[in-house]
Amino acid sequence: MPSPAYNSLLNLVSVYVDSKKAVEVLTRQLTACSLTADTIGPADIKANATRFATSFSLYVADSGKRDELKTKLAAL
């Protein structure tokens, strides 16, 4: 069962990226960080915030929205 941290991260990025694509990208990034949806916690999000922000922002065309996503991810 996905952890609350995973759900909050997914909910946040789904606002900017198509939800299916968001799951796909997140799964790929979690694998790269040796994490899973069940085990990821708030500390892991903070530690990998830049990676998540970089990867998700690649799918946001508007630069203003990209910055907004990066800010929100850093604050998560």
Binding site: K20, K21, T54, L58
Partner: protein, 445 residues
């Protein structure tokens, strides 16, 4: 409207809508065929129902005919001059059946053209129920006034005229209800008996009884002997024709809308009784030619009445069995119509389900491609932007470059899968395998 308009409209439709339109176009002929099938059954059902209406009106008319024939026979054998008591029983039969027929005519008269207006249009106003009622009332009034042989002869002639009218109305109803053109072999030969043969038989029995009465009472002439021989021959021919028609009816029954369980048992039994009565009666009539005094007028009248009774019973059985055959035909046509519509609806439903499944198999890879193309375009745009920024940066981030490469690789892999899936659907598995091998070869080199 420009010539391009229809193609523009079609091009704007989604693939699912286009597939639905194709199914709808192919379902259209099924719908038209179903309509034509149902429309083909409808007049046949209506025709059988009209025959049923005709047969229902014939029943009271034929009972009337038998009642009139009995009255005539009573009058022929009535020596006392006043026959009112003996005439009361058949008079009741005639009155009640005339009432029944008139009431029934209110319901079916417009369909059978037996209403006053319908008969007037066919120049047969003389056969209207009003006219029959009026004739019957006049006959009843005259029946109590018979005191001389001349008055009795006039009354008998009156009964004959009314019986002829009733017979003509029976025949007219047979025509207007299409009974005479019955399309099935079994019911056709039954109609031949109930509509054509039996009304004539009533006359033959009445005539033989009248002539025979004259012969046994000593009032007969050589002409009467010849007429009796002629009428007896016609009666014998009639019973043979009826038996032959019944045989054809029984043989053809199973092949025409199924076997009626009651037809053969009931009609055979009634025919046997009727035939026995006729054979016995014909034997008595033949003996009149040899020795007229051997048979009494009362015996002859009783035998004639017995034949008329057996004849009426047989006719009633035949008419009821005709109802059964016609109802079976209506049920058969109705179930055929329901089956035709049901199978057509099922075919349309099945075609829709198959079209939905095929449509989904076509749209699914397209949707997958669309799902990848949209974010993929953004990915490429943003990646180019980032790479351009990184090339101008003094301190490019290796992690960012790595993530961009990973995402581009993942996107390329997704695109490859989606294209292969699309190729499999568009050009078949062989083409998809060929494309996959080309991809693998390019990746290897």
């Amino acid at each position: 409207m420009t010539p391009e308009s229809p193609s523009v409209d079609t091009n704007r439709s989604s693939v699912s809508t286009k597939i639905f339109l194709i199914v709808a176009i192919f379902s259209l002929p099924i719908g038209v065929l179903a309509y034509l099938l149902a429309a083909n059954y409808t007049p046949q059902i209506a025709s059988a129902q009209l025959e049923l209406a005709g047969n229902s009106l014939q029943k009271p008319l034929m009972r009337m005919l038998y009642g009139l024939s009995s009255s005539k026979n009573i009058l022929e054998g009535c020596d006392s001059g006043n026959c009112a008591t003996e005439l009361s029983t058949p008079a009741t039969v005639v009155s009640s059946n005339l009432e029944t027929a008139s009431a029934l005519n209110v319901q079916v008269g417009s369909d059978l053209n037996t209403s006053n207006e319908g008969l007037a249009k066919k120049n047969r106003k003389d056969l209207s129920f009003d006219s029959l009622q009026s004739d019957w009332k006049a006959l009843q009034a005259n029946s109590s006034k018979v005191s001389t042989p001349a008055e009795r002869a006039e009354l008998i002639a009156g009964y004959d005229r009314l019986a002829t009218k009733v017979k003509q109305l029976v025949s007219y109803t047979g025509d207007s209800s299409s009974l005479i053109l019955d399309p099935d072999l079994d019911s056709y030969y039954l109609v031949d008996v109930t509509l054509l043969a039996m009304p004539e038989t009533v006359s033959h029995v009445a005539n033989t009884a009248a002539i025979g009465n004259r012969i046994v009472t000593g009032a007969g002439s050589a002409v009467d002997q010849a007429m009796l021989s002629n009428e007896s021959g016609l009666l014998e021919a009639s019973i043979n024709r009826i038996a032959a028609s019944n045989g054809t009816t029984f043989d053809a029954d199973a092949a025409n809308h199924g076997l009626s369980p009651t037809l053969q048992p009931k009609l055979s039994a009634a025919l046997q009784t009727y035939r026995a009565a006729v054979t016995n009666y014909l034997s008595t009539l033949k003996s009149l030619g040899v020795n007229p005094t051997q048979t009494s007028a009362a015996t002859l009248a009783a035998q004639a009445a017995g034949v008329q009774k057996a004849s009426l019973d047989y006719w009633e059985t035949g008419a009821n069995e005709l109802d059964t055959l016609l109802n079976m035909r209506v049920s058969d046509f109705e179930s055929g119509r329901i089956q035709a519509l049901g199978f057509s609806a099922l075919a349309v439903v099945l075609a829709t389900i198959v079209a939905f499944l095929i449509g989904r198999s076509i749209t699914k890879p397209l949707q997958e491609l669309v799902r990848n193309l949209g974010p993929g375009a953004t990915l490429l745009g943003v990646s180019v932007e980032r790479i351009a920024e990184a090339s101008q940066s003094q301190t490019p981030s290796p992690e960012e470059s790595q993530i961009i490469c990973e995402e581009l690789n993942a996107h390329a892999e997704n695109m490859r899968k989606a294209v292969l899936e699309l190729a499999r659907h568009v050009e078949g598995s062989a083409a998809a395998s060929r494309l996959a091998n080309q991809d693998a070869g390019q990746a290897h080199s």
